[in-house]
Amino acid sequence: MSSRRTSRQQSSGVPRISDDQIIQLVSKLRQLLPELRHSRRSDKVSASKVLQETCNYIRSLHREVEDLSDRLSELLSTIDADSPEAAIIRSLLM
């Protein structure tokens, strides 16, 4: 087994994770991504593709939070956020 030396210093001194563990974690991540989730398991999707799709997905989620915050801000000026809370919680948990 070759010892892999990192070209950069690990800041925490934690032992470097094995390649197998990385493969496992990357496939776990892949399951969460709407773009890649439905491809056949036998399809080889490269780790860098998974990372790229993850970045795209996170960015799109951040944008949605931004847009929804704008929308909620406009809506709050039209309603009283106090009263419907109980109804909201009920309907969200159905």
């Binding site: 776990k28 939070v65 929804l68 909620l72 801000s73 109804a87 969200l92």
Partner: protein, 145 residues
């Protein structure tokens, strides 16, 4: 939906709605018509921060990203900064540099931890968006009655 996701959703929803109520309570700086747009913009920022903080609290402090997000929020409140996704310049980015910039605390993690934290962060973000969407839909249907 798994039991833990359901619990997370409930926890987040409660905290987020509590924040919305606080944000919406009458302000001492009352709005004049010409400042309405600014009020809406400023409130949007508060709502956004409340959403991320509520999710970080709901998700729990055993995750590095939640601790990083909340400590960033605390230091932002002190310094009145608006930029939420400030990049760390000069730190070694290593592999997955873009991802490290997107996940709170990501620049400090080694690869295995980064991937684990990312998976959890993505799941929580999806819940956060789903709940915010449901709340917005509910408010729009209420106001159109």
């Amino acid at each position: 939906m798994s039991a833990t996701t359901e619990q997370l959703e409930r926890n987040f929803t409660h905290r987020f709605l509590t924040s919305l109520r606080r944000i919406n309570s009458p302000d001492s700086k009352t709005t004049t018509t010409h400042a309405a747009g600014l009020v809406i913009r400023r409130r949007s920022l508060r709502i956004k921060r409340a959403a991320y903080s509520s999710m970080a609290r709901a998700a729990g402090s055993h995750r590095a990203w939640t601790r990083a997000l909340l400590s960033r929020a605390r230091s932002q409140r002190r310094r009145q900064q608006h930029d939420v996704h400030r990049r760390r310049q000069g730190r070694e980015m290593g592999r997955a540099g873009k991802l490290r910039g997107l996940v709170p605390g990501g620049s400090r993690m080694e690869m295995g931890q980064l991937l684990e934290e990312t998976a959890h962060y993505v799941q929580c973000l999806a819940v956060q968006v789903r709940v915010m969407q449901a709340v917005a839909d509910h408010f729009s249907s209420s106001s159109s009655m």
